[in-house]
């Protein structure tokens, strides 16, 4: 009687209306006060010891605003065996809530991830997300720098169409730390990231990988690049060793102001390794650029790759200098 006399919160009224319009297909079940034996759950906090599980209905009494994002995502599924919805609902991740429900003013009686160290947050997520692309998280670069899953992802306030990221575009999530890398996407030579045809995760697995630089495919930089650019894969009769050793010797995959995303302009770039005699050793200065009275074909237009066009390697019997 006393509870009925208390004024109802607006969210509670909305909830009642919903229930009146769309009665549940099955009568609500009483939530179990303890998880069934064998159910894998994240560890609970010390202050939650002795608490019992109260069920989603109780949680939503106060946290109605969390419902939409939870219900609309895979987390809310009851038919996915590893989803919180199929386990203990909200309390799968946040721990048993009876103590918190009794007095929400006492901090620490419910797990709130924004206040927890990364290792605790990640331990919770990894209870279920321990396989597939997440299998190599532990010991990965991001893990070792104390990033938590909630640094990039949000369970209740995500904005992206996929992967529940905190930003609409994946690139903007990465930008928060890798500002210099993402800024290069706005240069004239760039991969089609800003056009939405690629994402950072096209090449990198931020959750860890067996390759270098958290690359998603292959076991080296060259293997990653040639997984799409297989025309550069070879093996060639005549190899240009630096290009086989690593594409990033000459190219900046994140973008550059130079043609073909080169790290600097030819012939300057090529002259970093080719001094020798005759034309590689020559200063190609302002007196021989294309607009000069006596231009040199070794600087204007395609510069060195005018002749050395097969610079990644050649299968021509005379391809030693990559001219044919």
């Amino acid at each position: 009687g006393r509870e009925e006399q208390q004024p109802q919160k607006p969210q509670q009224k909305e909830q009642q209306k919903l229930q009146q319009k769309e009665p549940p297909k099955e009568p609500p079940q009483q939530p179990p006060t303890a998880p069934p034996a064998g159910m894998r759950l994240p560890p609970i906090s010390k202050s939650q010891e002795g608490a019992t599980y109260v069920g989603d209905e109780t949680c939503l009494t106060c946290h109605e605003e969390k419902k939409q994002s939870y219900a609309g995502s895979m987390h809310g599924r009851t038919d996915h065996p590893r989803a919180p919805g199929a386990k203990m609902g909200c309390e799968t991740c946040h721990g048993p809530g009876s103590k918190h429900a009794e007095d929400e003013t006492i901090p620490g009686l419910i797990r709130a991830f924004v206040k927890e160290p990364a290792r605790e947050v990640n331990g919770t997520c990894l209870t279920c997300h321990e396989r597939g692309t997440h299998a190599l998280w532990e010991g990965s670069v991001h893990d070792s720098r104390n990033l938590s899953c909630s640094t990039c992802h949000s369970v209740h306030s995500f904005k992206s169409e996929h992967a529940q990221l905190k930003t609409v575009r994946e690139m903007d999530t990465c930008r928060s730390c890798h500002r210099d890398k993402v800024a290069k996407v706005d240069r004239s030579g760039h991969m089609p990231l800003r056009e939405g045809k690629m994402e950072c995760s096209t090449c990198h697995n931020p959750h860890g990988s067996t390759s270098v630089r958290q690359l998603r495919k292959g076991d080296s930089i060259a293997e990653m690049c040639t997984s799409c650019h297989a025309d550069k894969r070879g093996p060639y009769l005549w190899e240009h060793a630096p290009s086989r050793d690593g594409c990033a010797t000459c190219h900046d995959p994140h973008g550059s102001s130079n043609e073909r995303m080169l790290v600097t302009k030819p012939p300057i770039l090529c002259q970093r390794c080719h001094v020798g005699t005759r034309h590689p050793s020559t200063i190609y200065d302002g007196a021989v650029i294309g607009s000069a009275p006596a231009p040199s074909i070794r600087i204007y237009a395609r510069s060195c790759v005018t002749c050395h066009s097969n610079i990644h390697g050649s299968n021509h019997p005379s391809g030693q200098r990559f001219i044919r």
Binding site: D143, N146, D219, P242, I268, A287, S314, P317, Q320, R324
Partner: protein, 699 residues
Amino acid sequence: QTAAEETPTGWVGLIDFGVRATNLDGDGARFERYRDLGDGLFLERVRASREAKGWLLDFGGDHVGRRDQRFTASAVDPARLRASFVWDQIPMLLSRSTRSLYSGIGTGVLSIDDALQSQVQATPSAIAPVFAQFGRVFDTKTRRHIGRGSVEYSPTEAVTITTNYRRTNREGTIPFGGSFGHSSLVEIPAPTEHTLSDFDASAEYVRDPVIVRGGYTGSWFHNDVTNVVFDNPFRATDIAATPSRGRLTLAPSNSFIGVNGMVSVKLPRRSRAMAYVSTGMLQDAGDALVPQTINSANTTAPLERQTVEGEARTSSVNLRFTSRPNQFADVTVSYRSYDYDNRTPVFDMTQRVSYDNAPAAVTPPAETEPFGVTRHTFDADFRTTPFGRSTAGVGFTRNSEDRTHRIFEATTDNVFRVTFDTVTRQWFTLRSKYEHAQRRGEGLDETLLTSIGEQSKLRHFDIANRDRDRVTLIGSVTPTGFLNASLTFAAGKDDYLESVFGLRDNTHRVYGAGADYVVNDNASFGVSYSYERYKALQRSRQANPGVQFDDPSRNWAADSTDLTHAVLVNAEILRIAEKLDLRASYDFSRGRARYNYITGPVADRTLPEEVPVPTSLPTPTELPPTLSEFSRGTVDLIYTLTSRVSIGVSYWYDRYRVNDFTLDVDANPELARGQALLMGYLYRPYTANTGWLRLLYHW
């Protein structure tokens, strides 16, 4: 009852369509480099999803009907199966104003009318008027069509089987060099007609505490056109010294097949051990080598063999142990090896035919150098969090590499690092890292340099002895849940300490600042600025064989500086007026580069053992600085008519400015001059104003 059971089961989705128009001044090809923003009707976005009989069905379309369209479809049974399909088209429009005398563009045979060749052969200066009269304008572009399907099936909760198939077809033309001699510059539209098929499958077993995974990967690249024959615009008939046609090899067809396996075991006290192995084989498809020359006036010696017989074996091992027993100890130790074993047999070149001209004997024969590399990397990191949320760490990496056919037989890179991270409860985060690395080579063979006429003191910077120092700082302050400000700083220097010639050093400085302010659920603002500076010094000697070769007074250096400023501003104000949403953004990026030539001693950067020598070279004329500047502003207004229908208006402003002494229009005032014939793929500026009227319908 869980929230999921209340999910609506009918179709839900949206369609975003309308009409747009662009007022363009300048290079439309660069404006539409990887996209299609043509005028007229657009169907920007379609989404439809529903749940039926336990299946989640999703369909999507972007830029429907355009050259950059994409379609997606997925069906998910959350308990067992995920199937998805993607069709994606990626255009790459390089130029709409390229011109050529060639017919057969897009094929492996590029021909010029014999009469025109004869006319130019008789009167070389006729190339300009001939090109002006007969050069045809064509689009230089390629497009990728990608079909991708994947299935992930979980017969039990512990087992997941994943298969992916991707087929990429790329066709079109790209600018390519096809010269006929040292003083000749001919640019051709090289055909791009290839298909890449990738298939991979893996099975993963997960049962606490073990994850076991085995996988197969196969990749087959097929090039329809592995060589291109192109007429010489300057000559109609073959003579020994100059051909009437040239022949270039293009990318060879090839395949890569690999298998891999991984075991990961969760250990007590928050520890995990992981082992991964993979092996693969890369093979040339066995196409016949092209003959030495297509020049009918020359006879060449028979080739040593008729195919490349290209083959390389790869293998990789990865071992990792990581443990976080408590806040005081966080240890990660890993070992990684990678081997690229190139088994392509050595090929002897007894004659060289550089430009389909007269063959020259090569004595002794030049041998191919099938490059191979083996890498061993050991990593160890220790971190501790003794107080609160601050973590301090030290780490060490040793990377040893053995290579074939390079001036250093082996290199070892030792990397020491310290990190300090503070992640407070809400309001302050700092991540910092300092790294010092020393790379040293062994087994230096300077004869590999001198045998090809190179300076013996040149060092290739990717394997040269090098000291490296790098520091990064990322800090952010979140005084309230609504405001976040961040600062980033990065600096570093690579010092190639024994490279008398080649890249001597490079440095970088990156400064960034940003702030995001979320006023409430309906309004947010963000601003970000970054400044980057990259500098590099390289040294050379302008010399011909003989006395000049050893003359230090002919030394010169190039000092390169790249500066970039980038600004990003965005605002989102929902319900700026009743039923009206506003989104606006502005991106700006300006890159400037300067290349200064220095003759004589280089102050502060001359090697200690060198004796400064006055220069005997003339004072170089400075190169003009380059500029590459992008600006983009967008404003989107959406007015909600009903719960299902909204209308919108958008305005996009795009501008590109460029100065480039090799590729802009000023640097290439004539496409045909002397012994040069270009296609005209050049850097051109543009300004575009695009207006959109759209209707959004939700159901």
